[in-house]
Symmetry: C2
DNA sequence: TTGAAAGCGCTAACAT
DNA sequence: ATGTTAGCGCTTTCAA
């Protein structure tokens, strides 16, 4: 069926050892032999059997990525873009990407354990880090390579890439205050996500800097989806004294919030302002376009993957922790507050 | 490091063969030995080395999925949902999912070849089939297992799951005509995608049934993204005699079209109607919510994966070709036509 | 510059 | 019911 190293050896009349070495460009093989072997390999359409190669080398040249899927309508554009970023870079380095799906929770660690112990991957890429992240604790405890997109409190030494979303949110706060907002509502996911804690803190500090306190009752928690955003935003909007601006912790929630505002008969950007975070391509095409903070998801995927490959190859890392500078994208979902019955 | 079958053999004082057989529950091993071996394996945290196991068995228990990524902002919610569907089912059956990324084109086939020849996967899942699909021709020519989401003309015997989007589009046509539209524009991706040909044909036939011809000049081609939809829709809108309804061939394009209409000062659902296709979760949260045709992407991922696993295991397939019935989702992006300067 | 031989961890045919 | 042995395809000592 498939040609093996042995077939080539037979054809060129050399030993399999020589063929193997020729293929790997060892310098103790004569140039002529190398040429000969290469040509034969080419002709016969030889491709190394990965299983055998890797069994021998005790490595897998494979990166693991376990998608934290939530329910059957897992439709977050964030992940396809991030995945493309990883896959892209992995391919550049001849690495494979092994993707599994597992909802966050109990079973999750077992999925990681299983992949580690069955020798399936050389390292993991972790997304959406959590404050008390069992995945990272596990990998750390056994010294298994990984790189995270996102930080984890108390684990300042682990390799990660993250955007400085504290600062990103401060920019949002500054901008809203500058526009004249003083009563601001916030819709957020569970604070188990570190990115949520950073963004909240940035928002809090940013507002406090201008003498504004974000009140607990103005912060509502929902799912990290359009639906979650819609529901929580609707709650805020239907209050007798509704906020003049709603800060959503990601674009998907913001899209839900815009929808809620419109269903309530409000004109977004005039009657009420809405902001997001991520700058997914879609955020340009909402109505009105969404004011948000840019996060280069594809590039972060690239970086995370590149770092991980260096780590598993034992190469030095220039920077073990990367914190990217955010930038504010001003669009039309924000405007000066329209003050209602005050 | 990791415990191997040999370690267990030593511990329980049996041969490695016996251990292997005990672990696989062969019936020529005494119950006591089985018990003994299992307990030891448990205690020692034994997990089989996949590479070795698979090298021996000449199978990989792995499914290949090559993401057709377009450019660096590959942010299509379709793919994350589909991936979750596949991953989910694969995990149920103990299969791994090997994901690569490769833009459609020249190099694509080489990526497939490479994965086939290096023995990395048992079969492939193909998405977004094309009229002249080199991937499928290749896999078919070498008899390598695959299941496609989408049909290919002239390959009626290949295993696939698809939605009957001809009928889906006819439903859209019926509905628009029923609302009173007669001048309809269409924004479509390249007709190399089979789904596009089916949807176009459905639209054409649906309209013709009501005595309406879709004119060539009213069909514009763009990228399968919000941006593509925006640009092409804007062209249609700026014409002196603009259509009263724009049919987009997927939801992402429709979102772009809504945005274009709004930028042109039109009220969508009143001044102009817009329809999509897919019913991604987002389509509920556009403004106004999008009239579209539902496609159960997660379940299709499930089905495709299940079928592929049966094929690679040599199990019989109840249905080799599955054509799902579409359903129309009426929302507020469509309404009776508002007739301008006619 | 080349080849023989061992062995990665596992399974299975063949003994016993 | 259990063990011996061969071998999957490859890399890598070690010896020639």
């Amino acid at each position: 069926m498939t040609t093996s190293i042995r077939d080539i050896a037979e054809k060129v009349g050399k030993s399999i050892t020589t063929v193997s070495r020729a293929l790997h460009d060892y310098d103790d093989v004569s140039p002529e032999t190398k040429e000969l072997v290469r040509k034969a390999a080419q002709e016969m359409g030889y491709v190394a059997n990965r299983q055998a190669q890797l069994l021998r080398q005790k490595s897998t040249d494979t990166i693991g990525f376990i998608l934290p899927t939530f329910g059957p309508r897992f439709s977050d554009p964030f992940f396809s873009e991030f995945l493309a970023g990883i896959g892209n870079k992995a391919a550049d380095h001849g690495y494979d990407l092994l993707v599994s799906t597992c909802p966050p929770g109990e079973k999750e660690i077992r999925t990681y354990q299983y992949e580690v112990q069955s020798n399936r991957v050389d390292g993991f890429i972790i997304v959406r880090t959590r404050v008390d992240d069992a995945r990272i604790q596990y990998l750390n405890s056994i010294g298994f390579p990984f790189v995270a997109f996102g930080r984890v409190p108390g684990m300042d030494d682990m390799p990660y890439v993250d955007e400085n979303s504290d600062v990103g949110m401060q920019m949002i706060a500054d901008y809203l205050v500058e526009l004249g907002h003083t009563h601001i509502g916030c819709i957020a996911p569970s604070m188990e996500y570190t990115f949520a804690t950073h963004r909240m803190q940035g928002l809090r500090e940013g507002l406090r800097f201008h003498g504004i306190d974000l009140r607990e009752q103005d912060v509502l928690t929902g799912d990290l989806t359009e639906k979650g955003g819609y529901e929580r935003a609707m709650e805020l909007i239907q209050r007798p004294y509704r906020p003049t601006a709603i800060v959503a912790l990601n674009d998907l929630m913001a899209i839900g919030a815009i929808s809620a505002a419109q269903d309530a008969g409000l004109v977004v950007g005039k009657d009420i302002s809405v902001t997001g975070f991520d700058n997914i391509p879609l955020s340009t095409y909402t109505h009105p376009p969404l004011t948000t903070v840019h996060q280069p998801i594809f590039q972060i995927g690239n970086m995370v993957c590149e770092m991980l490959i260096k780590i598993v190859k034992g190469m030095p890392l220039e920077e073990k922790q990367v914190l990217l500078k955010p930038s504010l994208i001003k669009r039309q979902s924000t405007g000066a507050p329209f003050l209602v019955e005050k």
